[in-house]
Symmetry: C3
Subunit: 112 residues, 3 copies
């Protein structure tokens, strides 16, 4: 199993959720985060000069999936989250050793 973590723009949540659902993925966890990328925040012009916003609001999506489904999910997220402008976000994939469904006690692949 894998964990896909995607940091995306807030306004791309709905398109990403729909794209994932269409691709067959239901389970998803969303967290409100603040972030900065390569450009280190955003410079804003203000009356008194330049001002830098160090962190911008983003959403973190977390999705556990089977190894074989990982690429399909990543492709769906990239396509639905992309605007082409800087700040579109990042995806990270990590190994997951075990999954448990609390209600049933199921583990492993069937618990995903």
């Amino acid at each position: 199993m894998k964990k896909i973590e995607a940091i995306i723009r807030e306004e791309r949540l709905e398109p990403v959720r729909k794209a994932l659902e269409l691709a067959g993925f239901a389970g998803l966890t969303v967290t409100e985060v603040s972030g900065r990328g390569k450009q280190k925040g955003v410079p804003l012009q203000w009356r008194v000069g330049e001002y830098r916003v160090e962190f911008l609001p983003k959403l973190k999506l977390e999705m556990i999936c089977h190894d074989d489904d990982c690429q399909v999910a990543v492709d769906a997220i990239v396509k639905a989250a992309r605007t082409g402008r800087i700040g579109d976000g990042k995806i990270f994939i990590m190994p997951v050793e075990q999954v448990v469904r609390i209600r049933t006690g199921e583990t492993g692949s069937e618990a995903v």
Copy 2:
């Protein structure tokens, strides 16, 4: 070392925290998240028809523990978080390569 991530109902935090404490686990990090599982949100009856809440508020617990303690912790969480109804949550276990206690600089097992 392992990282246990548990997505649970908000109202099960207190029972889970107590169960973990009883089992000897103190360190814990909690994040407010929104999520959906296999059932893809929750359908609600509303005057004008059916309405679907795509994401429900949940809590994410993160706990770093020694490899040998992992199963005991998972069992404690499952037992204290379960209500038997859909939406009880999920547990994910991931590998952790290094731990550092910032105050002392301790690393590895003694830093957990």
Copy 3:
């Protein structure tokens, strides 16, 4: 690639951000969390007796970096986050298998 997760005091975010920037790290994701460590919360004296705050507000920093940069980043975080008092926080390092920059589709090392 690695993921560095650091739980720090809220008031150490600015020093840590600056230390990471000085060390050449720009990308960073921050989440508001609540946590407890070895001391299991904080006992407070109140008129009617002792009262225990189970969870304290903390910040979780997440940073993906190249394997070779990991130690430099951890050292920068430890130095900038430390006050010497209990509750300074913890750092966890996890393996990351893949990184994707959503805007460009770049993957792996160049996407970090």
